[in-house]
Symmetry: C2
Subunit: 292 residues, 2 copies
């Protein structure tokens, strides 16, 4: 017997996941107290059940204590196992000390989740220096790939695309999508200075002026890199690009920034609830769930 | 060799603590990223040192990940021990399931801190159903009492006081202060419905109309209880009271609410930085630190 709970802002995806399975729908309340403390209240029986919690981990600091309270409490109530479904997994970027004295938060956060959950399922985690989830997660970690869903969306919606990766980190991922749709691709180089300032070098792209540029990235956060890239592509004479992000984090005014940069359209997967969600991952997530 | 770090808003108390000891002052940066993640950066060597972190735990959800990152990182860098000095300790009030399905957050939070720190020092934690810190903390927990510092302040500043405890939970504590200053005291009864709505029953207080009422509580948060009490006392013909809180949490508009309720003065200990801080705890904290 399995039961799925979801934290606020994850209800739409939860509904879709439930439509594909026999899982029971769990009910939960989140309580935020005026003094900055919080609590959860689990309204469905979990005894002798496999419990799943759907909670995307954008803004993870706001959710960490609630995750802890949830996991411990369903165990108190006799859950057989607790699986975290975090379509977007936070704290994957600080995978080394960029400056002396910093915490390697990707590792510490992984230990925190591993200590409290029995299994984690996520979509395209930002693996860079860590080559796999098992380097930092001690619990089984299931990775769902968004590539096929993105491929399907591009084939259905865009004719004559050229895929563009915003930096070297996206190379392998963008080339995989490009090969599946038999489209050309370009990977740009990014020079980052500080959290926010980003320069982009755009190679010779004139030969793709007849194509529809499709910018692909795993995370769109402040969107500065992508917005700069859009401007460079436009200056190089390309058509207004389609921007696709797996994870629509959109920190600060990132969404406004990108919308005003000269894009044709912004599209994201539904790992984080956002009005740009066009690419549904629920089927892919359920396949992985049922596989194990 | 010992070194003291402090999180933002704890610098004033840190400065006072340092003035009483030979402890080294540690330097740390806190970084909050636009996407809701955070990190710390430790700028002082901690290898082979006993590390102390001063961080009052009002608004604990905002600080929990930073505490985790700090504790793990100083251990990475070879700290001999990590002691958390949390003059105000959050999550002490949910010490049972008030409703079915809730997390007992006091216990879970205690385990979280116990897993990451070697020792904790706090001031008058809100112990109610838990009779001692050791019921929920598995690490050594040192409790500093504010009573003596409050006694000294009342003796120095108020003539002919009558002490008033706002509810039964404060009974033992208010009676202790009252006995030390040889003043009379009254303990009221509180009827709470929900987070915010509070009714107060005020017994016959007319006989103290010549006294200066001193309302004492451990935590002043939304201040609704205390503000209601002030109004009741005023209606009963008492002088405008002095309100003393150990911990000036002042959630939401609590401070404004209390100021406008008809008080003479609001005074707090410096466990949480606030403009009402008049009663210094640093000497008491240092005594406990040096004792161990």
């Amino acid at each position: 017997m399995s039961i799925l709970f979801s934290f606020p802002n994850n209800d739409v995806l939860a509904f879709q996941l439930l439509s594909y399975t026999e899982m029971e729908q769990g009910s939960i309340n989140i309580h935020r107290f005026p003094d900055g403390e919080s609590n959860i209240q689990i309204n469905s029986p979990v005894n002798e059940k496999h419990v799943f919690l759907l909670c995307s981990l954008d803004h993870p600091d706001d959710k960490a204590m609630l995750l802890l309270f949830f996991a411990q409490t369903v165990k108190d109530y006799g859950a057989l196992s607790v699986t975290l479904i975090a379509p977007y997994l936070g704290y994957m970027r600080q995978d080394k000390r960029f400056h002396e004295g910093e915490a390697i938060t990707s590792n510490i956060f992984a230990t925190f989740l591993s200590d409290n959950f029995d299994r984690i399922i996520t979509v395209d985690p930002h693996l860079h220096r860590h080559k796999s989830m098992s380097e930092i997660y001690t619990i089984p970690a299931v990775v769902v790939h968004a590539a096929d869903a993105i491929v399907d969306w591009i084939i259905d919606n865009i004719s004559n695309p050229v895929l563009i990766g915003p930096d070297e980190e996206s190379d392998q991922w963008v080339s995989e999508v490009a090969q599946k749709i038999r489209a050309p691709y370009i990977v740009l180089t990014k020079v980052r200075s500080g959290d926010k300032k980003v320069d982009v070098s755009v190679p010779d792209v004139e030969k793709y002026n007849g194509h529809t540029p499709v910018l692909l990235d795993d995370i769109i956060s402040t969107a500065r890199t992508m917005a700069e890239t859009v401007k460079h592509l436009r200056r190089a004479g390309m058509k207004p690009p389609i921007c696709i992000g797996v994870h629509a984090v959109f920190a600060e005014d990132g969404y406004e920034t990108l919308r005003k940069s000269g894009v044709e359209k912004i599209v994201s997967c539904n790992s984080i609830l956002h009005e740009t969600n066009k690419i549904d991952l629920s089927k892919k997530i359920i396949e992985q769930l049922l596989d194990r």
